[in-house]
């Protein structure tokens, strides 16, 4: 077991982990942060996406020890001060159905918009292409993201 500390949604947190513990499991089962989901545990679905030092990453592929000293944002953190304009647009456009992919999808889109406030449709599709959604056919999600870039 190793003690690691990192910033989780703006709060400094410490946790004991063994070297082979996966970040996703540590977040969910040791730290009570439940928005990152598991949909494959092998890097294929993006449901486990979190923002690590500004970059959207798959937390099922990362060992928890690797994030020592870094900064992690999950959907809980993004929602802390109310919904972001991105979340608001997705809400208003009924972009999600079951919502299981939403935490990962939103963080991927959030990363895109943080770096590029006016992406093209192609860039939006590219940014969320690692996030599988079985319900929506993606278009409503893409349209919601697009509406936001036009509004601004």
């Amino acid at each position: 077991m190793k003690k690691i500390s990192f910033t989780l949604n703006g709060e400094r947190r410490q946790v004991h982990v063994s070297p082979n513990e996966i970040l996703l499991e540590v977040l969910r089962y040791k730290m009570g942060v439940k928005s990152p989901k598991s949909g494959c545990d092998s890097g294929d679905c993006g449901a486990c996406t979190v923002i690590l030092d500004g970059k959207a990453v798959r937390s099922c592929l990362i060992f928890a020890v690797e994030v020592d000293g870094q900064e992690i944002l999950t959907l809980e953190g993004l929602s802390a001060d109310g919904l972001s304009p991105l979340q608001q647009a997705l809400l208003e456009k009924n972009a999600f159905q079951c919502g299981y992919c939403a935490p990962g999808m939103i963080l991927s889109a959030h990363e895109l918009l943080s770096n590029k406030p006016h992406p093209t449709e192609g860039e939006i599709k590219e940014a969320i292409s690692g996030n599988l959604c079985r319900c929506t056919g993606y278009q409503p999600i893409i349209d919601a993201i697009k509406s936001l870039t036009q509004k601004r």
Partner: protein, 782 residues
């Protein structure tokens, strides 16, 4: 018609904020405290084998292990429509990966480690991986006990064969019909198995406490049906319905996979062996593929006779279903198709034989579309081929044969009102059917394809839905129902219906996922029936509440009840425009009389809906005489595709789909179903392909090797069209449409590919590789 204020609005989903904020909790997100135990399942490595010995002694020695359970602990069978399934394998395994035992431990790691130490000995049996092999005379029996299984009265198992059910239609005079035909097309189509691929895994946590209470938290489309099946299966242990409580949190996608009972019963059963502790059973992506339900595969032989003008004279449809190792649910897919395999056409002479066949592959079960995608792949391919052969426009041949209200269905009942013609016309117009499509470059060939679709809810005739509706002090409302919002927007639509009746804004109405102890009965969230069935129950409950409100006001204010009405959350009076009593002033605390006493009390509405005209009673030899399906939802769709002539890669340029949902309670959500269903349909025809080896082991149970579409695989354009021809017994005229949206996709894309390349592919999926090989072959022949 009355003006609607809530129904017909594209309201924002009532569960939307939870879902975009990360607040939505799914089963595995719930906390069960430090006493939570974990169960790991031991699986059999044979598609068909006798179990000769199970040795759990080594596993039991692993530190942290509490117990190991096997089939011996639970010698009970269960099933939704036929009790052919077992909690754990009994004397034999029937598919590769079937559950044999479970290890319960303090940590997932200890459970996994111990599970590897359970030693099982087998005596392999001949395995059958194909339905046509299973019906050969010398095929070994997968269920020797078939004749002893309990089943619903509308199933007809063939004892001492592998045929678990045979649904037969005999209507009119088929021989005469074929004799009268000017053209007969006879061919065979094959549709393989598919996986649902909901992104959330199946998950169940169960606790059997020291008082004998069994609580199960599960990702479920069917909380009450699960309670019923758990209680029935575990009845020998003294468990009764009121001992069992199923709590269903948010569901991360279902598509049929979380209907009925599959792995959830493992948690329920295991919990009885570790009394007092919650125990969790989690599936992973692999097991999602090979040990839940899969969509059934089918080999369909279709013979269709037509006159020169394209009018159908006779249809013969033989469907051989690969239903897998257990068919307790899948046999009803076979039944549904047996009743409906004429498609949305007027067919006076029809014979249909739909066979439910056991194989040593994973259990087949419900999957969005419930068999209709499968048989319409052949039928709609056939229609297009016949049209082209006769030189009739493919849209026109469908217009000529389209079923109309009052025409007789395959089982002889009258077809419900429908907007099929409007759908055909709207789609043909939007896709510009009459205009040629042009290739973008020399490398590609372009084509158009059309398809109709229909589907009825397949459910027992006494399927019911119910609702309690209660007011709070501020006249906000809680609606208690037990349908599940599996993404389709059920909760929102129920709230809109109540809002419509009671004129209370949506923001003041709460509808949440159920708990079978608190929420009234709902059969299951399947069959696209909840908007219609549960919608009726909610409407009745809201009307019941309104009635109580108006009664109370009438008797306390001395106003005739028939002059009172609700508007904007207040009671108003037609004869006294100044009269207004806000609901929040009395729905809980009542109305005070001049003498200081009160009248009334909490207003609570109750609604129950059951289609009292449905019956499965019919002659088993012909299926004539009953009314098994409450109604059909119909529609039309068309696609334009461009195929790369070198690589065979198909690009979908445009898809238009029109569905007659009777009334779109929430048009945005209806369009969402269309957009999502179309991509799921595209995926089955162009990408997804399950691979099994000679042992019956699935080779690609992961998203790397079993491809589902990403945001980079979308059609260039999707145009959803809503048609509204009211369903006479639907709430505000609504009928279901969620499953239907994926049904036409595979045949219309096959038709468009044929139009582009002159290449008819009759087996799904139509992958780039398959197109390429077929093109090479075709060019060689030339």
């Amino acid at each position: 018609m009355e003006k609607l204020h809530a129904v017909g609005q594209s309201a924002v989903r009532v569960d939307g904020k939870e879902k975009v904020s990360g607040a939505a909790l799914f089963t595995d997100d719930l906390e069960f405290g430090p006493d939570l135990l974990y169960a790991e399942i031991v699986e059999g490595p044979h598609a068909h084998a006798m179990i000769t010995k199970i040795d759990t002694s080594e596993a039991e020695k692993v530190p942290g292990v509490l117990c190991v359970v096997t089939g011996r602990d639970f010698p009970y069978n269960f099933g939704l429509y036929m009790k052919d399934r077992f909690i754990f394998a009994q004397d034999r395994v029937r598919f590769f990966g079937e559950q044999i035992a479970a290890v319960v431990a303090r940590s997932p790691a200890a459970a996994k480690k111990a599970a590897r130490l359970v030693r099982v000995s087998y005596k392999p049996l001949p395995k059958i991986l194909n339905p046509l092999d299973a019906i050969e005379g010398d095929a070994s029996l997968i269920h020797p006990g078939l004749k002893s299984y309990e089943h619903v009265p509308w199933f007809f198992p063939q004892p001492d064969t592998n045929i678990a059910h045979h649904r037969k239609i005999r209507k009119g005079d088929v021989e005469k019909g074929f004799a009268e035909a000017d053209h007969v097309l006879d061919d065979t189509y094959e549709v393989p198995r598919y996986a649902h691929c909901a992104i959330e895994y199946h998950a169940a946590v169960a606790k059997y406490d020291h008082s004998g209470r069994l609580t199960v938290w599960a990702s479920s489309q069917s909380p009450h049906t699960q309670r019923n099946l758990f209680a029935n299966a575990l009845a020998p242990m003294g468990i009764r319905h009121n001992d069992v409580r199923v709590i269903a949190p948010h569901v991360g996608g279902g598509f049929g996979s979380k209907a009925g009972v599959t792995m959830e019963i493992l948690a329920a059963a295991i919990a009885t062996r570790v009394k007092g502790h919650p125990v969790k059973v989690m599936w992973n992506r692999e097991r999602e593929f090979y040990n839940t339900y899969q969509r059934l595969g089918v080999v369909a032989r279709l013979r269709l006779g037509v006159k020169k003008d394209g009018r159908i004279t006779a249809l013969h449809h033989e469907l051989y279903w690969d239903a897998g190792a257990y068919v307790e649910y899948g046999a009803n897919v076979v039944n549904a198709v047996g009743l409906s395999a004429i498609g949305p056409y007027r067919v006076e002479n029809a014979s249909i034989d739909s066979y439910c066949i056991y194989t040593n592959l994973p259990p087949g079960g419900p999957y969005r579309g419930f068999g209709y995608s499968e048989f319409l792949f052949g039928l709609e391919s056939h229609m297009e081929r016949i049209a082209r052969h006769l030189g009739i426009d493919p849209v026109e041949i469908r217009r000529r044969n389209a079923i109309k209200a009052g025409d007789l269905t395959a089982y002889g009942a009258k077809m419900n009102p429908s907007g099929l013609m409007q759908a055909i016309d709207a789609v043909a117009k939007e896709i510009r059917w009459d205009e040629p499509v042009l290739p973008g470059n020399d490398e590609e060939a372009v084509g158009k394809g059309f398809s109709l679709f229909w589907k009825a809810p397949a459910m027992p005739p006494n399927t019911s839905s119910s609702c309690f509706l209660k007011f709070n002090e501020d006249a906000s409302i809680n609606i208690l129902v037990s349908g599940m919002d599996i993404g389709q927007g059920f909760l929102t639509v129920m709230a809109q219906i109540a809002s419509e009746v009671l004129t209370v804004p949506l923001s003041k109405i709460r509808t949440e996922n159920p708990d079978t102890d608190r929420n009234p009965y709902e059969w299951q969230t399947v069959a696209s029936h909840v908007t219609w069935g549960c919608g009726n129950a909610v409407k009745l409950a809201a009307q019941d509440a309104r009635n109580q409100v108006l009664d109370l006001v009438s008797r306390t204010q001395n106003l005739p009840k028939d002059t009172l009405y609700l508007a904007e959350g207040s009671v108003r009076c037609v004869t006294k425009p100044s009269f207004r009593m806000a609901l929040e002033d009395f729905v809980i605390h009542g109305i005070q009389m001049p003498d200081g006493t009160f009248r009334g009390g909490p207003i609570m509405g109750r609604g129950v809906f059951m289609p009292e005209y449905a019956t499965t009673k019919a002659d088993p030899e012909t299926s004539q005489g009953g009314h098994p399906n409450v109604h059909y939802t119909v529609g039309a769709a068309a696609a334009i595709v461009a195929v790369d002539k070198k690589t065979g890669k198909v690009k979908v340029r445009k898809i238009v789909e029109a569905v007659d949902c009777g009334k779109a309670i929430n048009p945005d959500l209806v369009r969402g179903q269309i957009t999502g269903g179309i991509l799921q349909g595209i995926s089955t025809v162009l990408y997804e392909e399950m691979k099994f080896d000679h042992r019956g082991k699935m080779l690609n149970p992961n998203f790397t090797d079993y491809k589902i579409p990403t945001s980079l695989d979308l059609p260039d354009e999707v145009v959803p069209i809503i048609i509204e021809v009211a369903e006479p017994d639907g709430p505000y005229g609504a009928r279901g449409m969620g499953e239907h949206t994926m049904i036409p996709v595979a045949p219309m894309i096959a038709n468009a590919i044929d139009d582009a390349l002159g290449l008819r592919i009759k087996t799904m999926p139509i992958t780039a590789e398959k197109i390429c090989l077929a093109l090479l072959k075709k060019n060689e022949v030339r």
